[in-house]
Amino acid sequence: MSDREIDQQLVERVQRGDKQAFGLLVAKYQRKLCRLLSRMIRDPAEVEDVAQEAFIKAYRALPAFRGDSAFYTWLYRIGINTAKNHLVSQGRRAPTTNGVEVEDAEQYESGDLLRDNDTPERLLQTRQIGEAVNDAMALLPEDLRTAIVLREIEGLSYDEIASVMACPIGTVRSRIFRAREAIAERLRPMLDIAPDKRW
C-alpha cells in the first residue's frame, strides 16, 4: 500500500463517522502543514491558529473529498487559502513574489522565516526533541540504526532494505519497529501525554 492509499483509507474511515481517524491525519500532517504556513505567517501562535482552522475546514469538507488528488495536496490547498484569508482579514498581504504553491509545498527547506519569531520556550522544546531523537539514534545498535535510516531518510521499502542488509523482510520489519520504540521511549516524557489529554 502506498502512502496515498493509507491516507485514503483513513479518509474513508472519517467519512463513515470515525473522528479518531481524522486525528491520525492531523497527527501525520500537522508539522508539514505548519511548516508550509510558516512561510506565509511569521508568528508561530498565528500559524497554529490557522493550521487548526484549516484542519477544521478540511474535516467539514471531507464528505466532498473523492480522492481525485492526494489528501495532503488537498489539505495544503485548504491551508494556503486559509492563510491568505487570514492575512487579508488582518489587513496584510499574502506573499506573492516568494509565494507558496501547493506543487512545491513539499520541496522547500524548513521555514527560515519562522526562526526569528520563535519564543525561547519553543526553541527549547524544538531543541530538546531534536536532541532526544539524535541521542536515541546514537544509542541504537548498528543494525537497528541502519534499518530506520534506510526507511525514514532514504525512503526504501522493506524489500529493498532486506536486499541492502542481506536479511529477511521479517527481520527488517522487526528492526524498524524496535528502533522506533527505542526512540519513542526517549520522547515520551517530552511529549507529556497525560491520559486525560489523549484524543
Binding site: Q20, A21, R31, S110, T126, R173, E181, L191
Partner: protein, 174 residues
Amino acid sequence: MANEQLSAWLDGELGATESEILVKNLERHAVQREACSAYWLIGDCLRGDTPRTADLSSRIMAALEAEPAILAPVANKPRQQLNHWMPVAAAAAGVGVAVWMGLSLWTMPLQDAPATLAQTPVSPSVHVVSAEAAGALSDERSYLMAHQASARGAPMAGVTQYIRSVSIEQAGER
C-alpha cells in the same frame, strides 16, 4: 494489536485487508494512536523537520467534539469499478451475439427449405371459387364500361359504372 504491525502499516507494508482491520481497530485504541503519532514525529525529526509548533492534535480534536460526525456515502469505488468493466462486458456481449448469429446461420438446413415449400398441399377448391368470383366481377365491369356512353348525363358522369344501387327498406314504411 501489536505495535510492530502498526509500524509496518505506517510504512505501507501491510496488505489491504490487514490494513483495513488495523485502521478499524485504531478507533478504539488510544495508546496505539499515540504510538502512531510518535512514530510520525520520529520520522519527521529524522528528516530534519523538528516541530516548531505545539502538538495540535488534542486541540483540534477538542474543537471537533462540537462537530457532527461525518456520514458520507462511500459508493465511489464500486461505481468506478462497474464503470471500468461496463465497456468490457458490452464488448463481450456483442461478440457473443455475433458468434451466436453466425452459428445459427451456419447450422440452418438450407437445402430442405425449398423442398418443404414444394410439399405444401394446395387446396384446389379455393382456386376454383376464386376464379368464378373473379370472372363474374370482370363481366359486370366490362358491361358497365361498354354502356357508359349511352348513360344519361348526370352530375357524377364517368363514375356511374362504379356506383352500386341499393334499396333500403325500413319496417313500417309501406
